[in-house]
């Protein structure tokens, strides 16, 4: 077989089990590709020794007929996941040199399922960003370019390294995390599939925390089937995360029938934003037609508090971040600033955090500190939490009316140029999450599926939102959409 790195999880799994290929061969192909792709900035800590060791072990298991779901499949891990003995710094200077003594539950589950870790993937610092421009490692570059234009584009963020690596076939799949759209927006910008499961499906233990009530891990893959396979391997009940759900994990892949006849798909009128680009509007319409043609019933729905999701998010997420990031104090791990003569512990904290956090992280920590401070807690934080209750109720109402899934655009535009938003006000960047953030606030599963290309040849994605805990049904609807859209475009290799 040639170009093994281009395989998806399902294809590679089947080839491994048939004996057509070994995990060592697959892994070597990916490692070679990674070494030739430094221009993308996706892999920031390569772990070839671990990869080859796990690949050899996987080949032994496969030969012995003991091959769990991800056995022998080479993947990348977002830098937000703590991986034992391997640098895990959330793309932040403040965690420079940090090598965890433990493994996150999700990456352990993947390892137990036989997956082969190729290395750690770039991201926005502490998962705060939508363009992968806030990383201490530098920008990630999207393998896609506009037709006839060499300008470097963003892969989106915060899971930009994961998206870029999967789109460029550096690995078969990758882990991502999603607090406001950080799996789905980069998936849409790179023509890949990404699912954020229901809050509580994946354990958060060992994943560097950003906003604990919103954070969820999920897979970023080449196909919907691959997402179903990998999600199943990532999920588990975990006593070490008190919000992890004690529910059985179904066989998601077995639920992919492609039959969505009679399913009720909601089209929320509030997502038709003023100034929406015509190409996004057209994509949404064509996705609606595809689902209707596949036998689904299309209904107009209303989610009246949609407009308030982003402002509520930009209270709640920074508030939780300011609390979570208080632990970076230069005492227990990471990087401590050099001190001047006479500096006490307060100066040590202040200098360490000023040097260790980048501007966007500092901004969010301080906004969070402000909205939680005495006198403003009720006006900002409590009000935002009440609005969050209303946003969740909007979804509960439409699900109670029989809607099975909701179709929306994944992003308000195709990938934009790196540096294009540098001078914009921070709020302009936040608007990238306008279609995805409601899903985190309501704790629901959401998936981005590539559904077409724009006039410049860049991929565009649609988002499907499902009922809580019904990822299997959601993946099946996504599977039908994927089949109808028939998206097969790949970026032309320039790196």
């Amino acid at each position: 077989m040639s170009e093994l790195n281009k395989l998806g999880l399902a294809q590679a799994r089947d080839a491994l089990r048939k004996g057509d290929v070994t995990s060592v061969e697959l892994t070597e192909a990916c490692l070679k590709e990674i070494d030739g792709a430094d221009a993308l900035g996706a892999f920031v800590h390569k772990t070839p020794e671990i990869a080859m060791e796990r690949a050899a072990a996987a080949d032994v298991r496969i030969k012995a007929g003991d091959a769990p779901a991800m056995c022998g499949l080479p993947i990348g891990i977002k830098d937000l996941f703590c991986t034992k003995g391997v640098a895990s710094q959330a793309a932040s200077r403040i965690l420079e040199g940090f090598r965890p003594e433990y493994e996150s539950t999700v990456s352990q589950n993947l390892a137990d399922a036989g997956a082969v870790m190729l290395g750690k993937l770039n991201m926005d610092e502490f998962a705060m960003g939508s363009s992968n421009e806030t990383s201490v490692y530098g920008n990630v570059v999207n393998p896609w370019r506009r037709a006839g234009d060499d300008a470097a584009l963003t892969p989106g963020g915060s899971s930009g390294g994961s998206a870029s690596a999967v789109a460029a076939d550096l690995c078969l799949a990758a882990t991502g995390t999603d607090t406001g759209g950080s799996i789905r927006q980069p998936a849409a910008f790179t023509g890949t599939v990404g699912i954020k499961p229901t809050y509580g499906r994946c354990s958060r233990w060992g994943i560097v925390a950003f906003a604990s009530s919103l954070d969820q891990a999920g897979p970023m893959t080449k196909t919907v089937r691959d997402s179903a396979i990998m999600l199943g391997a990532m999920c588990s009940h975990d006593p070490k995360d008190s919000t992890s759900a004690d529910l059985p994990v179904p066989d998601f892949e077995a639920m992919l029938t492609g039959d969505i006849r009679g399913k009720k798909i909601g089209i929320p009128r509030e997502y038709r934003m003023e100034g929406m680009p015509a190409e996004i509007e057209a994509l949404w319409q064509s996705g609606t037609d595809m689902l209707r043609d596949a036998g689904a019933e299309i209904v107009d729905i209303s989610l009246p508090h949609t407009k308030y999701a982003l402002p509520a998010y930009y209270v709640i997420a920074p508030a939780e971040a300011s609390s979570n990031l208080a632990r970076y104090d230069g005492v227990r791990y990471g990087r401590r600033a050099a001190m001047a003569k006479g500096d006490g512990i307060t100066e040590m904290y202040e200098k360490t955090r000023a040097e260790g956090f980048g501007p966007e992280v500092q901004r969010r920590v301080m906004i969070g500190t402000y909205v939680l401070s005495a006198g403003f807690y009720d006006a900002y934080y409590n009000r935002a939490r009440k609005v969050r209750t209303l946003i969740k109720k909007d979804f509960e109402d439409v699900f109670a009316a029989g809607v099975d899934a909701i179709l929306t655009p994944a992003t308000p535009s195709a990938a934009f140029g790196l540096g294009e938003m540098t001078d914009a006000d921070p709020v302009a960047m936040y608007l990238n999450d306008v279609f995805t953030v409601t899903v985190n606030l309501a704790g629901l599963p959401g998936i981005a599926v590539p559904a077409g290309v724009n006039g410049q040849g860049l991929p565009l994605g649609l988002q499907l939102i499902g009922r809580p805990w019904e990822e299997g049904d959601l993946l099946n609807t996504a599977y039908a959409l994927e089949a109808a859209a028939g998206f097969v475009a790949k970026p032309e290799k320039w790196w």
């Binding site: 003594e101 791990y333 512990i345 100066e347 955090r353 009440k386």
Partner: protein
């Protein structure tokens, strides 16, 4: 609500992030842009609405009150920027 430079300085202090005097005006302006955006929330009628505490209604699990972990001092200290004699070392805290 408009944030002036002294409020920005106070927030930076609370967050334990050193911000130089000359960076305060730009910081205050950024805060105001973000807070201006957030203030849309005032339009929402939240009378009688409970603030969300947990997105999934669930009772937190309980376990027996016993030690299940520990005796890992070397691992706990392994990543410390300054560890001495089995402790985290910090600048003098009490005069």
């Amino acid at each position: 609500m408009s944030i002036d430079q002294s409020t920005a300085a106070r927030v930076a202090k609370l967050a334990r992030i050193k911000v130089e005097e000359d960076a305060l005006p730009a910081l205050a302006a950024e805060f105001n842009a973000i807070l201006g955006f957030i203030e849309q929330l005032e339009e929402v009628d939240v009378e009688g609405v409970e603030p969300m505490t947990s997105v999934t209604p669930q009772r937190l699990k309980r376990r027996a009150d016993v030690v299940t972990d520990g005796d890992q001092q070397d691992k706990v200290l392994a990543n410390a920027p300054d560890a001495r004699e089995g402790f985290f070392a910090v600048p003098k805290v009490v005069e």
